[in-house]
Assembly symmetry: C2
Homo-oligomer: 337 residues x 2
């Protein structure tokens, strides 16, 4: 197995990418190809005394920036590390791809370079994010790749998310829910009402609508949403985390007494932080692509890259894309009948 | 001034409604009419030794339940406390209305009984919620009354929210932002892109798009969203609050040492809780109605009703509805030119 890594994606590239890749190679025994400026990668490894002799390097001249137009990856920036890495997947030179670069560019590249698992079954890939909750982690999809969705698209999200949670996250019969403004079937926009009906007969464990209040409480395993709603929820999730974390810090830093109190609960706070730490789950997989593509968080450190590579390995060896394809074909056939 | 209160709306009716109303009458010197079953109101007051001699009572036979179809308020449940209270407003027998009953029924009643401030200017009222943030509170609208919006509707939300925050919450030049998936003008669905353009020339201090991550950090004073997105954000806000609050309780209750730590920061935690306590802000005003209508939280206690009545008084005496009407007329004229 050869996992292709964008060595120049994210805020901490290439050092943290290299560190995470070395550890993942040693622990998991997977082949790893770092994509990016060969000299820079070697210099970075040398100046940090990192042995990259076991990793392959695929040279790429440039890097796509967050501020670039995502579509540039297809034309002006064809030689950027992200585009070159995805091209390797498309050409059969790699089994999975990981990047912490621009989300827009990854979605664009996944769509036009890696392409769909089957264009008749999935038109565009979905970005799936695993969120910490009071219970087990929940997958939210789409979290930003498809702003305008049809009912059929939402059903595809449910089917793909369910397969992923079952095979990669070991959730038995994942509870698939539709993000909506109320629990009743009659709630929501025309899109949501139609998607509800289709999800009822889809080959998933559909548990109905979920109000956003219940999401952090862990009331479902897969939360289906259009990409606009999903992105708002994902980012609000992050923002609320920052808000509460800052307020808590403020409370504990107030005076000598509160600082002492902080020291007394520090271990428990750290346990909680670990529980809500996205880097534990790897990255956000794109679902619906022909081969596994994983978007690591922009601020990923070595541990996050390490976990994203473990996730890419699982994504490949569990053949979850085949499972998704089968389930999606089944729906397609039933619709035709 | 006569403020009409639904005595049978919410989980703690009628006792907490009566308590909040007595205190509000004494402190603010406003006339108050309690709407609901006269005998039950009198019995409740008597058995709790509450003097309601200064309050008026308007008898209503029934109550609309959360589970009833909201539209029943117009036909089968015409005699419920909520419908009777709103009818008083429409007939000029009251100046503002407060209820902690079903949101759907209040929106429906506001639309068909109280009616629009001007049908040519606003087709349907918006539900506006004031959210606590790291900075000053932010108004989120629409938070669930209008699922399908046009660009013009979003602009109306911005104009009405801005007038409200300025006149009632004393915010100078409220920063109006559009909830979106990115900061750039080009981001979002067709709806969002069109609304962005219109907001740029609207008579408000438009500060551009806001990502949901920034909302709890207090980066705007008015956050404009379609009712579907707004409702998801509002409820996720609540859910994240419950999630963190429960986790924090769990941390502090772990053992003797953590319990001691909890005691040491209790005052500071309480200060924070007060800061994020919705009942401090009263209720969620409906904006776009001919007269002030306020939806109090379903679990409102006497303090929340007291604050909602103060808010209703301000809503009336600041004549903010006139301000909204003027601003909306201005937009309408500019569009016609």
């Amino acid at each position: 197995m050869n996992i292709v890594i964008d060595a120049f994606g994210g805020d901490n590239a290439p050092l943290e990418v290299i560190k995470g890749s070395i550890k993942a190679h040693n622990d998991f025994g997977v082949g790893i190809t770092l994509v990016g400026d060969e000299n820079k990668i070697k210099e970075c490894a040398q100046s940090n005394s990192l042995d990259i002799s076991q990793l392959k390097i695929k040279h790429a001249d440039s890097v796509i920036e967050i501020c670039d137009d995502p579509r540039q990856i297809l034309k002006e920036k064809k030689d950027c590390s992200m585009a070159v890495g995805m091209k390797m997947l498309a050409d059969g030179e790699g089994d999975a791809f990981v990047s912490a670069g621009s989300t827009g560019a990854i979605v664009c590249g996944a769509l036009f370079i890696v392409k769909s698992l089957d264009k008749k079954l999935v038109k565009r890939p979905a970005l799936a994010t695993v969120l910490p909750t009071a219970g087990k982690p929940t997958m939210l999809l789409d979290s930003g790749a498809n702003l305008d969705c049809k009912p059929e698209t939402l059903v595809q999200f449910g089917v793909m998310g369910s397969a992923y949670m079952q095979k990669i996250m070991n959730v038995d019969k994942p509870r698939v829910a539709l993000a909506n403004i109320g629990a009743e079937e009659s709630k929501g926009r025309d899109l949501d009402k139609a998607a509800y009906k289709l999800l009822e007969t889809a080959p998933v464990n559909f548990v109905g609508n979920i109000e956003a209040r219940q999401l952090p409480l862990g009331d479902c395993d897969v939360c289906v949403a259009d990409g606009f709603s999903g992105n708002l929820m994902l980012k609000l999730y992050e923002g609320m985390g920052i808000f509460f974390s800052n307020e808590l810090k403020g409370i504990f830093k107030k005076n000598v007494k509160t600082k002492l109190a902080a020291a007394m609960v520090m271990k428990n706070i750290k346990d909680f932080k670990k529980k809500v730490d996205y880097s534990e789950y790897g990255g956000a997989p794109l679902l619906g692509t022909a081969k596994p593509v994983i978007k690591a968080h922009g601020s990923s450190d070595a541990k996050a890259f390490y976990n994203a590579i473990r996730q890419a390995k699982l994504f490949t060896e569990t053949k979850v894309i085949d499972t998704m394809t089968q389930a999606l074909s089944q729906i397609k056939q039933e619709q035709a009948e």
